[in-house]
Amino acid sequence: MLSYYFSLALHSLKRNRVLTALMVLAIALGIGASMTTLTVLHVLSGDPLPGRSGSLYYPQIDPRDMNDYGPNVEPPDQLAWTDGMYLLKAKRASRQALMTEGMVPLQPTESNVDPFQTSALYTTADFFPMFGVPFQFGQGWNANEDEGKARVAVISASLNDKLFGGGNSVGKELRLQETSFRIVGVLGDWHPNPHFYQLYMGSYASDEDVYVPLSTSRDLKMEHDGSTDCWGNTGGDQDNLERVNCTWLQFWVQLDKPADVEAYKSFLTHYSQDQHAMGRFERPPNVRLRNVMQWLDYQHVVPSDARLQTWLSVGFLVVCLVNTVGLMLSKFMRRSAELGVRRALGASQRALFGQLLMESGVIGLAGGTGGLLLAMLGLWLVRQQPAGYASLAHMDVSMLLATFTLAVLASLLAGVLPAWRACRITPALQLKAN
């Protein structure tokens, strides 16, 4: 039955090629435009750590003075050294890591590569197990090495390829800022997008190449980049960041159960109250505890242009669909005579309805194929853009399936009204008129 409908549909579509082409083109344009922007949005707003992100939280407290204080003021995005170290050492969560980022000069020892600047993350031992960072060789450092300001480093797979040809470099020397570090681990495939734990060096495609203990980086006065937000009049002297009134550290904790989240929140509130009572915090307790996705949402990580384009293309799809409904209506109604004959010969209304929907489904499939090609072209155009996220704009299997599903569903939807109108014809009237 279906194959008969299919051949009828092809036959009918061939009869009026211009109209068919117009409908397929309209669907293809609408699908192509909306799938391009939806794919970009899908890539940009994806979960950087599926399965883990729900239990990772970003604590915020408010240590500032009363300048600009008001109700509903959000606490600063980062922590000061004093608070960060306290929360880290309190170990109230199952895992916690404190971090910041900077550029360090790297002097290769075993190759003829010139010295270059590379991006480094200064963090603490739990960073690796907490985020489930994969290792190719070796492992992260431990808490004792944090404590001892050990000269140890973990390097990315790409840096390992560049310096050591991809071999096992654990135990080898890495010279950073004229100091010798021992490599303890080489990362595997670690490219979380968005770069959720550290958004100051770019939200996408901004992986760092070197990881060293935070304590070591402070000991060696390694350069701190990113944002330093200060209050009061202590200034923001880069070499004395431990003592100034500035927030410049990011802190992540792992909280596995909802009860732990509540407990941690009240811990933050109590800490703020204590600091407020001691006079260090001028503001009353003002804390936030967001998980990864809430944090990304709060930070507006997805560029607003990408969201605007998605809105626009969805509107575009609506116009294309309305257009297709109109064209199908005219096409189906024009075939009243043919449908009247089929009805008179015994075809049920249901059968006619099925036949017409099959026709619109075929248009949808053709439109979907065209739309997929247009979306590929669109994504290629996006990748030519200068934005940092551009290189990530690739279609994956789920978006590919979504394209076809959307195209067929949209065209079936567009076909329902015209098909229903067309199969309500009274056969006798049609036959008589002819």
């Binding site: 626009l312 575009f316 257009n323 853009q385």
Partner: protein
């Protein structure tokens, strides 16, 4: 012409009428807003920075093995290296003038802070956010800025300081926008302000007409004309020089820079991006805006084309359906022009209904976008222009099928099919 029979006829095609009207409405809403976005982006791109931009280029370089400490000896060594570079560049035959700088407008690298009327206050009422430029006595001249009050820096005003130092200058030149914000009533020249919440007073000695901040991001849009220029050479392990070439000698001057700097000292890094014309800096800064405007433009055109195709399709269908009726009308004395007018008027009515709904949709969409994105309220004339565009489009699209209708011969009335 009597509208009554037309409305009666349209009643028989409710679905088609609603579809065309709806399509026109949504198209109008999207096109108005898209054009408004395009216009806003283009306005953004076209605003002048305050510079005379032709013949200006920027040199960014990094020293290798330069002192990295913040002690006075290191700073003086770095300053000596900087001055050597300046002298070498100033000696080039195609160069008009050179100044050290930390950034230029449209460059994604900025030093930002605040200017206040009272000491020790940061970013509060009566204060203004500002960007800081650091240059010497040739900085204004090199960028081609227009001094509207007070005086320029002299060589004696210019000092130097380490890149990470946090001391405020004795004197500054500010933009007129910032001066007017700080001293709305009075002349700002000679007045004292406090920078970055410091307690050290700083005197304004001059006002420039216009100077944009480096960042073009929306976070800087609240202080885009608030710039402060400090008479200071910043010393770090990298340096930037802004250069004005002699008129028409831009390329020659740019080519001469790397070898001149390598002659002073080969211990430095100059890469492909190190010598960059202001034209390129501008193009890079606004590439995303121009891309967005182009995308919006393309979407508008395709949308209008799709809508026109829809109108052609549906009207053709109606013409086909009413073939006999048209023949009857012709046989009863209607002229070709009457038939043509009939379909044109019919389209005008449908498009009119669609456009009215579309105006409401357009305003609603604008409100929605305003709430979700940083967008202004759309002026009424955008909606009016959009309305005119879709009505015209409807008339153009309907012309072909309507002409075909008018060519139906009266004899059709006498045939049975």
């Amino acid at each position: 012409m009597n509208l009554h029979p037309m409305i009666a006829a349209l009643r028989k095609h409710k679905a088609g009428v609603v579809l065309i009207a709806l399509q026109i409405a949504v198209t109008l809403a999207i096109v108005c807003n898209a054009i408004f976005i395009i216009y806003a982006r283009i306005e953004n791109v076209r605003r002048p920075t305050g510079l005379v931009e032709s013949d200006v280029f920027l040199v960014t370089q990094q020293w290798v093995g330069a002192p990295s400490g913040d002690d006075p000896a290191s700073i003086q060594k770095l300053d000596a290296m900087l001055r050597e570079d300046l002298n070498a560049l100033r000696a080039l035959p195609d160069v008009e003038s050179v100044a050290p700088t930390n950034s230029v407008p449209l460059l994604p690298s900025s030093w930002n802070g605040s200017a206040a009327l009272k000491p020790g206050t940061d970013l509060r009422s009566g204060n203004a956010r500002t960007t800081f430029y650091f240059g010497d006595e040739q900085w204004l001249k090199t960028l081609g800025l227009h001094l509207v009050a007070g005086r320029d820096f002299t060589a004696a005003d210019v000092t130097n300081m380490g890149f990470r130092a946090n001391t405020q200058p004795d004197i500054v030149i500010v933009t007129k926008a910032l001066a007017d914000k700080l001293f709305p009533e009075a002349n700002a020249v000679g007045k004292v302000i406090y920078l970055n919440g410091d307690s050290k007073p700083t005197t304004i000695i001059g006002e420039v007409e216009r100077l944009q901040v480096p960042s073009v991001g929306s976070w800087a849009s609240s202080f885009v004309w608030n710039s402060t220029i400090q008479p200071i050479r910043l010393n770090g392990n990298f340096s930037r020089y802004v250069v004005r070439a002699k008129p028409g000698r831009l390329e020659a001057a740019m080519r001469a820079v790397p070898s001149a700097l390598y002659t002073v000292s080969p211990m430095r890094v100059l890469d492909d991006d190190s010598v960059k014309s202001f034209k390129d800096i501008r193009a890079e800064a606004y590439r995303a805006d121009i891309g967005m405007a182009a995308l919006m433009g393309a979407v508008c055109l395709i949308l209008l084309a799709v809508t026109a195709a829809g109108i052609v399709g549906l009207t053709s269908f109606w013409v086909g359906q009413r073939h006999r009726q048209i023949g009857v009308r012709r046989a009863l004395g209607a002229r070709k022009i009457d038939i043509l007018r009939y379909f044109q008027l019919e389209n005008l009515m449908i498009a009119g209904i669609g456009a009215v709904v579309g105006v409401a949709l357009a305003v609603g969409l604008n409100r929605l976008l305003m709430s979700k994105f940083e967008m202004q309220s759309m002026p009424v004339y955008y909606v009016l222009v959009g309305l005119a565009v879709v009505m015209t489009l409807g008339q153009i699209a309907v012309f072909v099928p309507a002409r075909r209708a008018s060519n139906v011969p009266p004899v059709v009335a006498t045939r049975s099919v």
